[in-house]
């Protein structure tokens, strides 16, 4: 008995091994890589080992002692892995702008020069500035919280206490907040349009229902870019909507519909509407049709029947639709870039800048991690909320 039970369990486990392997390789491993990239900071201690040892004893005042400078020259001479050196340069330049040219120039000079002693300050007078040396010293510890702090506009000052970035230097927090705000507005707009639409579709039969469903599905099969560009054509100042309104005489000058939040919300709502309509529709299909008639026969008016019967029954669909729309919306990038204004860019455009623009994967990973954390908190709240109506219903 026992062995067959074990065998069955092993067999079941073997069946889901491909799934587990898939999740591990394409979900957990990349996620772990990005988390690691945001906190591991060992490039300087790896590529500049002698400097890392020597600079720790420096008190941070004035120029560091000669041994440190010589250690750096020696490290640069020994650095034969150019890609690793490049990573170090990128890390340091991200802390202090200017390191890129400074270190590249110094490394080239050190390699060309045959004699052992190189005077760094005469090579480039930026080596006289303590801030460059301080940046090296700060980069010695193998783990760092600077990326995570920078992702929410914080940093450590000279004493190591956490302080806010100067106003005007960074806006990640604001952009993050804006991302959630836009996603919330879009979710609300989708719910306001999607719920009645799904109810209408579920109430119809035959070809009418098919037409209504096709109207939702066809956009879903169309490329996101095409749909966004279509809105561009509709919304612009000389576009169809403004043209029609002006021709009818409703407005004198074109309404500002594009390159602002209005345009972003309209376009994103349209793009994401199917994710709201379909879950609600599928829930409503399972609601017996005679429930509304039963409510009416017991004296409830149409509004009351809707409020007490149909709405609570469609709530699970509404909640999962809202969750889907919200989750997809916070990652949006193309639509705000094309139809949004300066103040509508979302956090994914900042992540893209660090990931593809400057190869600063640490900061990109940290921003992604913060986004993931906030989303998980929201998901947890959703989990709590979505349980309560069933309890009430029961």
């Amino acid at each position: 008995m026992r062995t067959t039970a074990v065998r069955e369990r092993v067999g079941a486990l073997l069946l889901i091994v491909p799934l587990l392997a898939f999740l591990a390789v394409f979900f957990l491993w990349p996620l772990w890589t990005m988390v690691k990239a945001s906190v591991v900071d060992d490039t300087v201690s790896r590529v500049l080992p002698r400097t890392s040892v020597a600079i720790v004893s420096w008190d941070g005042q004035g120029s560091p002692p000669v041994q440190v400078q010589q250690a750096l020259v020696e490290d640069l001479r020994q650095a034969d892995d150019q890609q690793a050196l490049g990573e170090t340069v990128r890390r340091l330049n991200s802390a202090v702008s200017g390191f890129r040219t400074l270190l590249t120039r110094t490394a080239n000079a050190v390699r060309d020069g045959k004699d052992a002693s190189v005077d760094l300050a005469s090579l480039d007078r930026r080596w006289n500035e303590p801030r460059f040396w301080l940046a090296i010293r700060d980069a010695v510890p193998p783990y760092t919280d600077r990326n995570l702090l920078a992702a929410v506009d914080l940093k450590r000052d000279a004493n190591g206490t956490i302080v806010s970035e100067e106003p005007g230097a960074s806006a990640n927090r604001l952009i993050m907040f804006r991302t959630f705000l836009v996603a919330a507005i879009v979710t609300f707009a989708c719910a306001a349009i999607g719920l009645p639409y799904a109810m209408l579709a579920a109430a119809m039969t035959g070809w009418k229902r098919n037409v209504l469903l096709l109207a939702v599905l066809v956009p879903l099969w169309t490329s996101l870019l095409v749909r966004t560009t279509a809105w561009f054509v509709l919304l612009q100042n000389e576009g169809l909507i403004n043209g029609a309104l002006q021709a009818v005489g409703l407005i004198e000058s074109p309404l500002p519909l594009i390159f602002n939040r209005v345009g972003v919300v309209i376009a994103m709502t349209h793009v994401l509407l199917p994710f709201m309509v379909l879950p609600i529709y599928s829930i409503l299909l399972s609601v017996p049709r005679n429930l509304m008639q039963a409510a009416a026969s017991m004296g409830a008016g149409p509004l009351r029947a809707f409020w007490r019967v149909l709405l609570p029954l469609s709530l699970p669909g509404l909640l999962s639709g809202s969750l889907l729309v919200f989750m997809v919306a916070i990652g949006y990038y193309i639509t705000p870039a094309l139809v949004g204004g300066a103040n509508d860019q979302m956090i994914s455009s900042v992540i893209a800048f660090y990931a593809t623009g400057t190869a600063n994967w640490g900061l990109a990973g940290a921003l992604g991690l913060i986004l993931l954390l906030v989303t998980m908190i929201l998901y947890f709240i959703y989990g709590r909320l979505s349980k309560s109506p069933q309890l009430v219903g029961a």
Partner: protein, 350 residues
């Protein structure tokens, strides 16, 4: 969407590490990557297809939007799935310093002295000289703007303006609008006061700016009348004038020019063929065909000299166009892009 992109990049790396696609990579044909749009259409006709005919092997092509992070991800994956890439000046400098590119064999290209000095690099061979300049639709504007000061003058030229989103170019143009001479722009930007000055100047125009990101957008903005003037890439302007009969004009004084280069990604499996391709695309007889399609300057001196005069006047390399323009300072931007982009985003959000 983009965290998903990062994950997928990491996913690709993992697949490569697992050794799945090694064989597929070895069997891959030469892959050339450029900037898409009407520019790549022209390159296909004069470089990709003739080269493929000459060698008897297919040439695969892709397009990209730039970014050293893309190159870094490809190279660090071990065996890149791109071979030849056309990169901007910053990507050339960054990638060369980081060891992402193979060295160029200049003897195969006919020697370094055949090219403009600025187009010669250990890691890259210059492909075009291109310009970002003030552009407007001459059919809509009765009076022609002549400078960045006009661009900033919303009383004289009412309406919106288009600028590329990001600090690069916007800061240069703002300083010139504020009266800085083209030759002094980067000297001014090198000081914190200069950067403050540029942002302050941008403040004045902020409510009137429509920000664009990809090179095709400013053309659309101009064509639809959404903006009265915009910064744009000069080749695209001449391209759309030719293909769609527009009357867009380029204002050369105050334009910023730069050189794009061909590079070969490190450890490319088609290294030799890639070098042959770059040599083919650098031959004067092949290069000289480019300005017929799109008005970019040619880095090969012999090719540049062969361009007919009526086309020459629309190129960034024409002496009268060069006279009052600025050479993009790639060193300034590779040092400062991260910090200034952060500040630019904060400034936009204010």
């Amino acid at each position: 969407m983009n965290s998903a992109k990062i994950l997928s990049i990491a996913g690709c790396i993992s697949a490569l590490l697992a050794g799945w696609s090694v064989q597929a990579v070895q069997a891959r044909d030469l892959t050339v990557v450029s900037w898409g749009g009407n520019y790549q259409d022209a390159q296909r006709k004069i470089y990709f297809e003739p080269f493929s005919q000459k060698t008897g092997k297919p040439v695969l092509e892709e397009s990209w939007d730039g970014g050293i992070g893309v190159i870094a991800a490809k190279v660090k994956a071990g065996t890149p799935n791109w071979d030849v890439v056309q990169v901007e000046a910053e990507e050339l400098a960054l990638g060369c310093a980081d060891g992402f590119y193979e060295k160029i064999d200049w003897s195969k290209l006919g020697g370094k002295d055949q090219f403009l000095p600025a187009a010669v690099d250990d890691c890259g061979a210059g492909a075009i000289v291109w310009s970002t300049a003030l552009s407007y639709d001459a059919n809509r504007l009765k009076e022609a703007p002549t400078s960045w000061a006009d661009f900033w003058d919303v009383n004289k030229f009412p309406g919106k303006r288009g600028l590329r989103r990001g600090p690069k170019y916007a800061l240069e143009f703002a300083l010139m609008a504020d009266g800085v001479a083209p030759s002094e722009v980067y000297k001014e930007l090198a000081t914190p006061e200069g950067i403050d000055r540029a942002f302050k100047k941008l403040d004045q125009l902020k409510p009137h700016i429509v920000w664009w990101e990809s090179g095709a957008q400013p053309l659309q903005l101009l064509a639809s009348g959404e903006v009265v003037m915009t910064s744009a890439y000069n080749g695209r302007i001449s391209g759309i004038n030719k293909s769609e009969g527009k009357n867009f004009k380029v204002v050369w004084p105050g334009s910023v020019y730069a050189i794009d280069s061909w590079v070969i990604l490190k450890d490319s499996p088609n290294k030799d063929q890639a070098m042959e391709f770059i040599a083919f695309a650098s031959q004067p007889d092949n290069q000289v065909k480019l300005p017929d399609y799109i008005a970019y300057g040619l880095p090969n001196k012999e090719a540049a000299a062969k361009v007919p005069a009526e086309i020459q006047k629309d190129l960034p390399t024409a002496p009268e166009n060069l006279a009052h323009s600025v050479a993009l300072d790639a060193d300034f931007w590779i040092d400062n892009i991260e910090e200034l982009n952060k500040r630019f985003n904060a400034w936009l959000a204010q």
